[in-house]
Structure formats: C-alpha cells, structure tokens
C-alpha cells in the first residue's frame, strides 16, 4: 500500500469524496477512480460498466469495481449521459491498477457542466485523504 505522499494526483482533474475523478475532454468528461482508490482496493479483477445512453445524476451508482478484497460501487461525479465506456477494462481490469488516470471508465456528456467546479481540486483531495 502506498503512503499518502506517494499518491499520484494530477492537477487538472476534479475528485470526489468517493475517490472518483473527472477530466474535461472537449465537450465531455472522462471518469475514473483515483490512485488512492485503486491502491486501497488492491488488484481489480472485474469491472461492471454502464450502458452507453444511460443517464445518471451526480452521485448515482453507475458501475462496480471488484477486487480480491471487496466489491465497490462507482458513483458518477457529474450528472449527464454516458456517451462511451472503456471496453478494454472488461478483459483487462488490471489497467486501472497500472494507470488509474489513463484507464478511464466512462465518458459523460454533462447536463450541468458547472458541477465540475464543485469537485475537489488535487490539493483539497489530498488534504481530505490526510484526514
């Protein structure tokens, strides 16, 4: 397990209390889980993805991550419609452990893009983790 100061927390992402991140990619946002989340979960063995076209409100459960330790829900950090999911994770869930920010899980077309500004900045998220 990583020490808190070993965690990678890119500056341009928004983070949630539940350890998801969102990143602006043009008109849409990509969503994944933070380095802290993948480290806590341990080896991820299964990812349940939503369907393209599903709509969620911020904080809704939109998928599941299963590690050898536990099954965890994925909560969407932003409201909107799923426009893409990362199919590569179905066969290679370990990509999330290897590169939690490269291995995006879903892409959302936001219904309220300003929600992004309410997410934690990297520094604030780090403070939260330090407790």
């Amino acid at each position: 397990m990583k020490e808190i100061d070993e965690l990678l927390l890119p500056e341009d992402l928004g983070y949630t209390d539940d350890h998801e991140w969102a990143q602006k990619t043009g008109e849409t946002f990509r969503v994944g889980v933070s380095d802290y989340a993948q480290d806590q979960l341990g080896d991820i063995v299964f990812v349940e993805l939503p369907e393209v076209g599903d709509s969620f409100a911020k904080g809704d459960e939109c998928g599941t991550l299963e590690s050898v330790k536990a099954v965890s829900e994925l909560y969407t950090p932003l409201s909107g419609e799923v426009v893409a999911v990362n199919e590569a994770l179905t066969d290679n869930p370990e990509l999330i452990n290897e590169d939690p920010y490269g291995a995006w899980i879903l892409e959302i077309k936001p219904s309220a893009p300003a929600e992004f500004d309410t997410l934690h900045k990297a520094a604030a998220y780090l403070e939260m983790l330090k407790g």
């Binding site: 806590q40 080896d43 063995v45 299964f46 330790k69 536990a70 099954v71 869930p93």
Partner: protein, 501 residues
C-alpha cells in the same frame, strides 16, 4: 532464517504438523483398464448407436475403489472445519454443531418421510414444522413464521416480496428502500430483485445509525428500511425504536436482517424494536452445519399484520391435527419446493429443544462475553475503530501495523500457520483493513486465551520479523494462493490437459 528456527512457539501449540498428504488429480492416478467393480457380462445383443447421439468422448479416469477412497480422504485432510478448531469467521457464526442434532435428523422416520405423503400419514413431520414456527415466533417476539426460505439472502428476498405485496395491497407501490452501510452486503441485491432502488444510509462516527439522517431520507416513495441489528460492526443499534417510528410514520416497513441473532436470542424482542419482518439464519444461530454453499434455512418471521403475505404452504394446527395451509390469497406464493430444507429445520428444532429457553439466552450471553473479552484483550495492540461494548463480534483494523507494511491479509494468513481459520477480513467496508472476529459461545476460556496469545505473537512478529507474515502461510499444504489470477482466469476443469494450457 527458516520458519522452524524462528517460531518455536508454533511447534508447541495446536497447528499443522508434519503429516501432510500429497495428492494428484484423479486423472493423474490409476491405470488404463482399472476398475472399482466387476461389470457383469451383457446378456442382451449389442446394438449400434446413431453416431449423432454419441457426442464427444468423456475422459473418465480408470480407478479402483481404494484409489477413490484415498483420494477424497486425503483431500478432506486439507480441509478445516469447526470440528477441527476455532473458526472465528465474523458475521458467519461458525459455532459448534452438536452431533445429537445430526442424529435426530437422520432418524429414519424423519429422514425417510416422503414430502408427498398425505397429511394423515405426515402428522409428525407437520407437527415438527408447526412447532418450529412457534418456537421461532417466541424467540423473535414476532407473530407468524414461514420456514420455506433456503438461506439468509433467500429470506431477505422473501421479506422484500412481502414488502412489495404489502404496498401493492395498500394500493400505492413504492420505489426506494433505505439500507445502512452497516447492513449485510446482500441486502441491496434482495431489494433490487423486487424492483426497489437501494438508498445508502451512512452510519455515524460511533458506528450507529442516526435517526435524523433516516428521517431526512424517508419519504412516501420509500418502502422501508433494511436494518441489520446488531449491525455488521457488531454493535447494537440503540436507537432502533426511534428509527422504526420514523419509518412507520411515513407508511414504511422495517426489515430486520437476523444474521446476527446469535447475540440476542431471548434478549431482544424484535417486535418491540419495531421490526415488521425478520429473517433468521438457522445455519448460523441455530447451529446447523454450513459453509461451502449450504444447505441452509432462512425462515421469515412477521407481525400479525403481514401474516397474510407469508409464502405458502404453511403448517397450521386444526384441533388435534396438523395441516398444510395453501389457501392464502394475499400470499407471495411458494418460494421453495415442499417443506423448505427440511433436514436443516429438523436440526434447528433439535437444537432449540436441547438448549431450552434459558440455554439459548445463555448461549447469546456467552457469545457476547467472549467477543468483548477478545476486544478488551487485544485493543492495546490492534486498532479498534469503534471502542465501545460490542455484541457477538468485534472489528479491528490493521492501522497499527501500517508502519511495518503489514496488512490484515498478512495477519490472517499467519493465523493459518498457528492452526486457526482466519476471521472475516476486509468486511465491513466501513472499516479500512477490517478484521472481524466472532468467537461464538462454543470456545472455552483456555482456547480463547490461546487465540488471543497467538494474535499478540503475530503482532510482535509483525514488528520483528515482518517477512514471516508476508510469506505466510508457510506450514500448510499450499502457500499463499494467487487470488488475483484465480479471479481473473478461473480454471474450473479438473483435467490435466486444462492445466497444461
């Protein structure tokens, strides 16, 4: 340094010794043409089989009887059960199962009774079912019982079907259900199968559910709440009555997950706590063997108001005779064939009769005492996230061991070297690195002291020789298994050819 040199203590306590059988797969044993019996010569003429019916050839190993008996006997030696040693698996209540219960269930008059025999010839069987329903109603304080559900989660599903039928009958179906983060993990799935959306309720900093939070979430589109009490932190929800009043005031129902009933037999009255539906795990609380997928039994107990919705058939008493009642128009229907898992019901009935009311209460008291004793004896070395009196299980974490990079998993694996089944780990999810210990009432003080001493030794080893833990278990037939590979690429075929791939 070898394991033998460094841990002399492990040699003097219970544990795995030197005689561990090796055993190959069945396909690697035997010899072509060997057989376990003599097949008589065929006395009918041979006929040719249509080639399309043949299918692919099945690769059965050729073995003698002794090959097969030794194979399975050897495999059984690698197993660990509650008959081998302490099995403190939190949330599972792995108590000792008295052998008299097996004997009663194996009585030919009971074991061989056919479920389709007419009622006049099944009076003993029906009486047993009826009396068990009555016992369980008395123990929980609720009014009516169905013995049909086959397991805890099946009981939950039946309970949710009853919620659904109740709201349907009231003419206003609801769509959500409240589930605390300290409830059992299967609760959301049971609710979702009945079309309810699970709404998570966070427990407070003391591990307790906050009635004000419940009040803020409870509305008239919410079917009710699914409480586990004692909760999965092993703590009694002290404000359960307030919570039940809030839910009832909005027309909702209260489900009680009775998986942790071993803490409160004869102590808690579920009805007075405001619970409308409660399932029991006979295979936990009422001492019927479980593990490895069953069979179990998860009877559902309800209030008078919900009795019409119980599954059919139900054993009823009419004067001096017992009958199966099928004609209950509001019933959710049948949830199991015949009488449920009857053999399990017989064992639980035997357990209740042999223990008696005082005995059951005493069992719960001792289960709680044992858990609290372990909690107090270990809390100076293992981090205790919720330091307050617990019920039948206590939850530690690996926070104190983080400096040595020792995880809960490492400590659990090391316990195996000392001859213990590890406790439940990484559950409940509200505690990081949780280790959930449930000793049950079965263990005597000497054995509990031995367990405590072992965990203290392991904590010491974590500081002084962390590799002993990282490399544990070392004294078992197989070492630390690659759970990640097993989950990602499961190999479920016992053929050598599959292994070669």
């Amino acid at each position: 340094m070898s394991e033998q040199q460094t841990t002399g203590a492990a040699n003097t306590v219970l544990g795995t010794g030197g005689l561990i059988f090796n055993e190959p797969l069945l396909w690697e044993k035997g010899k072509k043409g060997r057989m376990g019996m003599s097949v008589p010569q065929s006395d009918v003429p041979a006929a040719t089989l249509d080639a399309t019916l043949e299918g692919t050839e099945v690769d059965f190993p050729d073995l003698s009887e002794v090959d097969v008996v030794r194979h399975y006997t050897r495999l059984s030696q690698w197993n660990f059960g509650v008959d081998s040693g302490m099995y403190p698996l939190g949330s599972c209540t792995m108590k000792y199962n008295p052998k008299t219960n097996e004997r009663q269930a194996a009585t030919p008059a009971i074991a061989l009774a056919h479920p389709m025999l007419e009622e006049g010839l099944s009076q003993g069987t029906l009486r047993l079912l009826y009396e068990l329903q009555e016992f369980l109603a008395t123990i929980t304080g609720l009014d009516a019982v169905s013995l049909q559900p086959a397991a805890g989660a099946h009981g939950e599903l039946t309970g949710m079907l009853i919620f659904h039928a109740y709201h349907e009958h009231k003419g206003h179906q609801r769509h959500k259900i409240l589930i605390p983060d300290t409830a059992h993990g299967t609760n959301p799935a049971s609710a979702a199968l009945c079309g309810y959306k699970a709404v998570a309720v966070k427990s407070g900093p003391d591990g307790m559910l906050d009635p004000e939070l419940v009040a803020s979430l409870m509305d008239e589109d919410t079917a009710g709440i699914m409480l586990t009490n004692p909760n999965t932190l092993g703590l009694f929800e002290e404000r359960v009555r307030e919570i039940a009043e809030i839910v009832h005031a909005k027309g909702g129902l209260v489900y009680g997950d009775g998986a942790n009933m071993n803490a409160v037999m004869g102590v808690m009255d579920a009805k007075k706590c405001g619970v409308d539906v409660l399932h029991l795990n006979l295979h936990k609380t009422f001492s019927t063997p479980h593990g490895g997928g069953g069979p179990g039994a998860g009877p559902v107990c309800v209030t008078k108001e919900l009795e019409p919705f119980l599954p059919v058939p139900r054993a009823v008493r009419k004067g001096d005779s017992y009958q199966l009642e099928e004609n209950l128009p509001l019933s959710v229907g049948r949830v199991h064939a015949f009488h449920g898992n009857f053999g399990v019901l017989v064992k639980a009935y035997s357990y209740i009769l042999t223990m008696g009311a005082e005995g059951l209460k005493r069992a719960s008291q001792l289960a709680v005492l044992n858990a609290n004793y372990i909690k107090e004896q270990l809390k100076d070395v293992l981090h205790l996230p919720y330091d307050r009196p617990c019920m039948h299980e206590c939850v530690f974490s690996d926070q104190n061991q983080q400096a040595e990079k020792i995880s809960t998993l490492d400590m659990a694996k090391r316990l195996i070297d000392y001859g213990y089944h590890p406790p439940t780990i990484y559950f409940p999810l509200v505690v990081h690195g949780a280790m959930m210990i449930e000793p049950t009432e079965s263990e005597c003080k000497e054995d509990i002291d031995q367990f405590i001493a072992t965990l203290r030794t392991i904590v010491q080893e974590a500081k002084e020789q962390p590799d002993l833990l990282h490399e544990a278990p070392q004294r078992t037939k197989v070492r630390r298994l690659d759970e990640v590979q097993a989950a990602r690429c499961p190999c479920l075929v016992g053929l050598p050819s599959a292994e070669d791939k």
